[in-house]
């Protein structure tokens, strides 16, 4: 351990240290049982919802395309089971609302022939036909999105705007969120595939530098990957100090290559970094080398009161209820079920919600863990300010949002908030800081978009007028 603690680094501003509670870290991943019916929401990613291409009664196999990308920023969706499409209706998802989804009744487990199911490790050097475009096309066609939780279509991230030049790929193996161990298990169980995935990502954006950032609370993963990475001269494993929210793109860029990403609309690629999750690297490997669409993922099902928490390889569309049953059922008392971890996760209103591309964990918090503490007056301690990883003033932003002073909130840079919740976590008065800021951020972003649209319309009108002359 001491070996790793020497040259570790972390991001500069803010950060907090929540209890890790990684109770499932040494439990090997099992494949979750196939459900009787899967429900696949059409919005599993950021961007336009996918458009269904199947109808009621259609027979599908594992890996059959059931919905195509609904726009440029979108991703196709594939069936995770074989069976019959029952209906295209709405279903509760993690957003808390009913949204369009495809219901499929499971019959057997027949895979599409195009998927290579062998365990053989394919190396990039054996496939000279893989050019950057080819890799990006395969990633796009197989519906790969960011597996860290934000679900941004990976193919778009791999085609950076012409104004920015990528210089390195940073892989996020940080898993700073408490409780979750899905990425850790993936690194322990599929290190070779991940490394080939990183190579593919590097090839896709034409860079020669790759970093995998891993926090020092996972010494086994660091040792294993460092050992395996010896065969890859251009991939470096970077041990990082434990601090939440190190998994945030901008924080990770700061921690690994010590560059600061400017305020929005700048993105990490503006400072030369393309950031991807280890789960994404694995999915990219499978998509490109095995032609396997993204229809299953690693999910941690965890909670202190759960009888038998564990890590599962889950087909998309499996309901939470089934995963919780597999861990011994819901504990007694008041439960809060989160899609994701306790810091960034979203509480769901029903266990009918299903696993989607971005579900890295199902966390069950019970009784006192499940409830918020009563909010008290702000004591002006400034803890939130020192905790904010973006260098904002959360107490002020929260106040401005509740007073609806949007102009000032914009001036104080509310759109920079990454909604990590560090401020609310650290607040000794348990004030709902993030709730307020999130509301304000939404409104301010709306105002900014409206203004941009108005400016564009005015410019277009002026242009049309000039052309008329």
């Amino acid at each position: 351990m001491s070996l790793f603690c020497k040259n570790t680094s972390t991001f500069k501003k803010g950060g907090v240290h929540p209890d890790e509670n990684k109770i499932t870290s040494e439990i090997a991943t099992r494949a979750a049982a196939l459900p009787k019916q899967v429900v696949l929401p059409l919005s599993q990613h950021i961007g336009a919802p996918a458009k269904p291409v199947v109808q009621k009664g259609d027979k599908v196999k594992v890996g059959t395309l059931i919905a195509e990308a609904g726009g440029f920023v979108s991703a196709p969706i594939f069936s995770s089971v074989s069976g019959t499409v029952v209906k295209v209706d709405t279903a509760w998802d993690a957003s808390g609302y009913k949204r369009p989804a495809i219901y499929i009744d499971v019959e057997g487990d027949v895979w599409e022939d195009s998927i290579d199911r062998s365990e053989k490790l394919e190396k990039l050097s054996d496939h000279p036909e893989l050019t950057s475009e080819e890799i990006v096309n395969r990633v796009r066609a197989n519906g790969v999105v960011g597996m860290g939780g934000a679900c941004f279509p990976t193919s778009i991230k791999l085609t950076p705007p012409p104004t920015a030049k990528a210089t390195c790929v940073i892989i996020n193996g940080v898993e700073c969120e408490p409780y979750i161990t899905a990425d850790y298990r993936l690194m322990m169980e599929h290190p070779d595939e991940i490394l080939v995935g990183v190579e593919l990502l590097m090839k896709a954006v034409n860079v020669n530098e790759g970093y995998i950032g891993i926090e020092t609370n996972k010494p086994k993963a660091i040792a294993l990957l460092e050992n395996k990475a010896k065969a890859y001269s251009n991939i470096k494993i970077v041990p990082l100090d434990c601090k939440y929210p190190q998994g945030g793109e901008k924080q990770l860029v700061d921690a690994v290559i010590h560059r600061e990403v400017p305020a929005p609309p700048a993105i990490p690629v503006n400072v030369g970094a393309v950031v991807q999750n280890v789960g994404t690297a694995y999915a990219v490997y499978q998509a490109v080398m095995k032609n396997k669409p993204l229809f299953e993922r690693y999910v941690t099902v965890t909670g202190k009161q759960l009888h038998a928490p564990g890590n599962f390889l889950v087909r998309m569309g499996t309901p939470f209820s089934q995963l919780i049953e597999a861990c011994g059922g819901l504990p007694e008392g008041d439960n809060k079920i989160l899609a994701g971890g306790p810091m960034m996760g979203k509480a769901v209103t029903t266990t009918d919600v299903t696993v989607v591309k971005g579900t890295n964990s199902v966390t069950v918090l019970t009784n006192t863990d499940a409830k918020r503490k009563e909010a008290q007056n702000c004591i002006r301690c400034g803890k939130c300010v020192s905790a904010c990883p973006m260098g904002l003033e959360p107490y002020l932003l929260a106040q401005l949002s509740s007073l609806k002073d949007w102009e000032r909130a914009e001036k104080e840079d509310i759109p920079s908030c990454i909604e990590c919740g560090s401020c609310q976590f650290t607040c000794p008065a348990h004030r709902p800081l993030l709730d307020n800021i999130r509301m304000g951020k939404g409104t301010v972003m709306g105002i900014i978009r409206e203004r941009a649209a108005a400016a564009k319309a005015a410019a277009d009108a002026a242009k049309a007028k000039e052309e008329k002359k």
Binding site: G96, A347, V348, D435, R438, M439, G442, E450
Partner: protein, 356 residues
């Protein structure tokens, strides 16, 4: 003698400055219509924005501008009502345009009794925050969240949350239909409708649930199930089921209350009528050409559960509903996911509904 020099110098400076000021005031004078001030004086100065203009001065300017065209049509001060508009038209030398007074109505009857809580929410206690987190504490993703954003928005103390039902209730006497609550409600439940004659006779569908009948009924006992009985019984083409929810057009409605009498879910609510409606079967009402008017001295009390408690003889009617439900599903009306739509689009649509 010495005193005279400064006096003279200052006097001359003063004179020159006065001349400059006089010249400037003539040359750069801003001509303001005197009527602008006069109109502004009679307006209530509540600056509520209910007229659709930025404050009372904005509305005064709009009135004066409209006066040049010779008509005040489309301009109305909801707070001041007909009295203020009369004064305004007098100042501008025009005939007052009579406009029906409006009032806010709450289109949700998902009380604690009708709509059981399935989960508990312990985040920030505002409707907007709760709406962003999801459907709320019940299984209905369209209904009232009960945190009272509308109550906070109201400047006239006209809307309050009823603690028993958990729903907002509008005080028809205090409400000036400024529309602040309509804008504040993230679920777009509140609507401005005609206030109605007498004690405010009005009739509206107290539900905005766009789910299919069976699903809607599961989440709320008072939900509109889009059975279409109201649409069938209406002789005036005033009721239509769109997106799985009935809507009564206030312009066409003649307040015959037939729709209310057949609604199996008691989702249609009336206010200010002398007597509670008698429940009837659809078959009894269809062949008869004329509506049976109800008359009497009693008054239905307030909004909310009054009707539900009184009319419990639903068993017979429910049978009819079960027959009707599949039809509603067959119609395959498009479900509108307005609650999850873009905030800008929503704002535009909200403005459009307000105008219409």
């Amino acid at each position: 003698m010495y005193i005279l020099i400064p006096v003279a110098v200052l006097g001359v400076i003063g004179l020159v400055a006065a001349l400059i000021l006089f010249f400037c005031s003539k040359k750069f004078a801003v001509k303001e219509d005197p009527r602008l001030g006069q109109v502004g004086e009679v307006l209530p100065q509540a600056n509520c924005g209910g007229c659709g203009y930025p404050g009372c001065s904005g509305f005064a300017a709009a009135c004066v501008k409209a006066a040049e065209k010779g008509s005040l049509e489309g301009l109305n001060c909801p707070t001041g009502g007909a009295a203020v508009m009369g004064q305004v038209s007098e100042i501008l030398g025009l005939n007052a345009v009579a406009s029906d007074p409006k009032v806010a109505v709450v289109r949700c009857n998902g009380s604690c009794e009708n709509r059981p809580r399935t989960v508990a929410y312990d985040g920030m206690k505002t409707c907007k925050a709760m709406n962003a987190c999801g459907a709320g504490e019940t299984g209905c993703q369209f209904g009232c969240l009960g945190c009272g954003d509308c109550v906070v928005a109201c400047q006239f103390d006209a809307i309050h949350i009823n603690k028993e039902t958990g729903l907002p209730e509008v005080d028809g006497d205090k409400c000036v239909a400024c529309g602040a609550c309509v804008k504040a409600c993230p679920r777009m439940i509140i609507e401005l409708r005609k206030k109605g004659k007498g004690k405010g006779m009005r009739l509206w569908v107290q539900c905005v649930n766009k789910e299919k009948g069976a699903v809607a009924k599961k989440s709320c006992a008072a939900a509109c199930i889009a059975c279409g009985m109201c649409e069938k019984v209406c002789q005036f083409d005033a009721v239509h089921v769109v997106n799985n929810v009935a809507y009564i057009d206030p312009e066409k409605c003649k307040m015959c209350r037939k729709c209310e009498s057949v609604c199996p879910q008691n989702a249609i609510h009336s206010n200010g009528f002398p007597k509670p409606v008698e429940k009837k079967k659809l078959a009894d009402l269809l062949p008869k050409p004329k509506p049976t008017e109800t008359a009497g001295a009693e008054k239905t009390e307030g909004v909310g559960l009054a009707l539900n408690k009184e009319v419990k003889s639903k068993i017979e009617l429910e049978k009819t509903v079960q027959k009707e439900e599949p039809k509603a599903e067959k119609s395959k009306a498009k479900i509108d996911y307005s609650v999850t739509e873009d905030p800008i689009l929503r704002k535009i649509r909200m403005e459009n509904t307000q105008q219409s």
